[in-house]
């Protein structure tokens, strides 16, 4: 045994506290399930983040997010997102459950019930966890591309033709390095990135999450880096009935929306097994 100075070739692969001070949203994006289930813990965490542990605007925008992890111990999996082109990158089709279109505001009679990104991640990752597929939400791919605006609530077709392209930047929701597999959920917020509402003063807000999902899918096929799947907010619609309480109607539609999103995930699980991306 001897005293021997160590010379390190690389720094440890987990960050120092400085990273979290500079990116306080990382805390609100990595909340244990147990805390989310516990309203007191969740409220306390949110309070601390709002009071200074986090960036206020980010904390309000990005509600606590679920990350699902498996219990397996994986050996030395690739540490960074793979950047090489994969000729065999497989992009799942859009699994169609729910219209994925709707509108709120103005004269809309049947507005959709939205599923937030936080809630969607919970549904998606919980279902995938049951299949032992775990995802990181920290090191996820950043997808950048330009697209023609897919909608504007004031523009007519001619306006759309001359409208500037939207610069889309999407940090995908989850990434599994082992399978080079990325997941994105198209919420109403993501859909808004495709819109150019410049000069539009209408209270009407239209959403086509399914169409936006198709556009993202096409771009992923073009880029060809990743195995990927895009889910979308089904945008299940409220249809009010005279003899039914609002809460009952809302709860029923919300339940339907969750089921539709879960059906998308179930189709994806079948697909991913069939394609051999994961072992059955």
């Amino acid at each position: 045994m001897e005293i021997k100075p160590v010379k390190l070739k690389k720094k440890p692969g987990y960050p120092t506290i400085k990273t979290f001070i500079e990116n306080p949203e990382l805390l609100s994006k990595n909340v244990p399930f147990a805390w989310i289930r516990n309203q007191y813990a969740a409220t306390t965490l949110a309070t601390f983040i709002l009071c200074g542990c986090g960036n206020q605007s980010n904390a309000q925008k990005d509600k606590p997010t679920i990350i699902v992890v498996s219990n397996d111990i994986e050996k030395d999996k690739p540490s960074a997102i793979q950047t090489a082109k994969h000729d065999s990158a497989k992009i799942a089709k859009i699994f169609s459950h729910g219209d994925g279109s709707g509108a709120i505001g103005c004269v809309v009679e049947s507005p959709p019930v939205l599923i937030s990104e936080d809630e969607a991640r919970k549904i998606i990752f919980t279902a995938l966890k049951a299949e032992n597929i775990d995802f990181s939400i920290i090191e996820t791919p950043l997808l950048k591309f330009e697209a023609p605006p897919i909608a504007n609530d004031c523009f007519d077709e001619n306006d759309l033709k001359i409208a500037k392209k939207a610069k889309i930047e999407i940090k995908m929701d989850g990434y599994n390095a082992k399978y080079n597999l990325a997941i994105e959920y198209v919420s109403a917020n993501v859909y808004n990135k495709f819109k150019t509402d410049e000069g539009c003063e209408s209270t009407l807000q239209g959403y086509s999450t399914k169409y936006a999902a198709e556009l993202i899918r096409k771009e992923l096929i073009t880029q060809g880096d990743l195995n990927a799947v895009i889910f979308y907010d089904p945008l299940s619609k409220l249809e009010f009935k005279r003899k039914e309480k609002f809460e009952t109607t809302w709860n029923n539609v919300k339940k339907l929306a969750r089921e539709q999103l879960l059906d998308q995930v179930k189709d994806f699980i079948e697909w991913i097994k069939k394609e051999g991306i994961i072992k059955q």
Binding site: T16, N30, V31, P32, A41, F48
Partner: protein, 348 residues
């Protein structure tokens, strides 16, 4: 220690260190003197009533004399009880036996539930010897399985460690790293001191100094006769190590000696200075250096070897957990208010 010396010690502390000072009862076995503990705490409370000083209390016990009545008392005065238990029976009974050689494990293990019922966050103080290192992982699993949330480990560096033991400890740390990873992913809450300290030493970087004791400054020890030592490890029998005494409760701290010991402890050796693990290493534990090399600032080869084994294993584990986005890992190590939220969760 007589009650008079104990009270004089409290007077001394109240005078010199009146704000939220921790009083730790140690031995030998302190529960042999339950009444003295109670009298001392009662005396401390009288000081608090007069707003002369404020204290908190800890006691380290081998658990043999622990009972419901004492734990109820401990809770009533906010005395934190830590239990010395080395893990599974084969590890614990290797050294912790009665004078006639009979096992203490069964008796101590039977007290775990009682202790944790009264103090769910009680610490298990675990010593790992060369002779017991092959039970290290099993022992950690045993203690966590029995419900301990805090496991504080000390390697007995004064033991006869050899190269085979170093290979074994590497194997054991790797097994424990797998357990740690599994438990964190299951969102189990626990504290395993060797790993937590090394993770913190990277994550906190410059603030790591805060985790280290300032020799002869912060955690001074008072022997049975009132002699003051720079650290509990220097007390020994309270008589034979007076060369390191920094004063007494009657004459006060000898500032010159206190400063000399502190300065000596901070001198770095050339080999340590050029090591990339220097800021993360146990080489700054003065009592450890003294125990193993007889000097205050020289690291022993055993400590160096075990640190070089431990740090890369912990770093690899930290990297895996971070890349998996393990929420409990991230909150525990990067969220300054983690202890508060964790406690609130436990309360509801």
């Amino acid at each position: 220690m007589t009650p008079e010396t104990a009270f004089q010690s409290i007077d001394f502390i109240a005078d010199k260190y009146p704000i939220n000072t921790g009083i730790i009862f140690f031995g030998g076995e302190p529960l042999l003197k339950k009444n003295l503990i109670k009298e001392t705490i009662s005396y401390c409370e009288s000081k608090e009533k007069n707003q002369e000083a404020y204290f908190h209390y800890k006691v380290t016990t081998n658990g043999i004399l622990l009972d419901k009545s004492f734990l109820e008392y401990a809770n009533s005065v906010n005395l934190q009880v830590a239990m010395s238990i080395d893990g599974v029976g084969k590890a614990h009974d290797r050294f912790r036996v009665f004078p006639d050689g009979k096992s203490t494990f069964e008796i101590v293990a039977d007290k775990i539930d009682l202790l944790l019922k009264h103090q769910p966050y009680a610490k298990a103080l675990m010593t790992v010897n060369p002779e017991t290192v092959n039970h290290f992982s099993d022992s950690v699993e045993f203690l966590v399985g029995r419900g301990f949330k805090y496991i504080i480990v000390s390697l007995n560096y004064a033991g006869a460690w050899n190269d085979d033991h170093i290979k074994e400890i590497k194997k054991q740390y790797q097994k424990i790293a797998k357990l740690y990873e599994k438990w964190i992913l299951q969102e189990k809450k626990f504290y395993f001191s060797p790993f937590e300290m090394k993770l913190a030493s990277h994550i906190s970087q410059d603030n790591m100094e805060c985790y280290q004791c300032d020799f002869a400054q912060k955690q001074i020890a008072i022997a049975h006769d009132g002699t003051i030592y720079p650290c509990v490890q220097f007390v020994q029998d309270g008589i034979s190590n007076r060369a390191y005494s920094i004063g007494s409760i009657t004459t006060g701290i000898e500032m010159g000696m206190q400063k000399k010991l502190y300065d000596d402890s901070k001198e770095q050796t050339a080999l340590c200075s050029e090591c990339d693990y220097n800021t993360r290493c146990n080489n700054k534990c003065t009592c450890l250096n003294w125990q193993t090399t007889g000097t205050l600032n020289q690291i022993s080869p055993v400590v160096c070897e075990t640190e070089r084994v431990l740090i890369p294993i912990v770093d690899a584990m930290g990297e895996r957990l971070y890349k998996k986005g393990a929420a409990m890992f991230i909150q525990k190590h990067y969220n300054a208010v983690y202890p508060i939220i964790s406690m609130i969760e436990d309360m509801h």
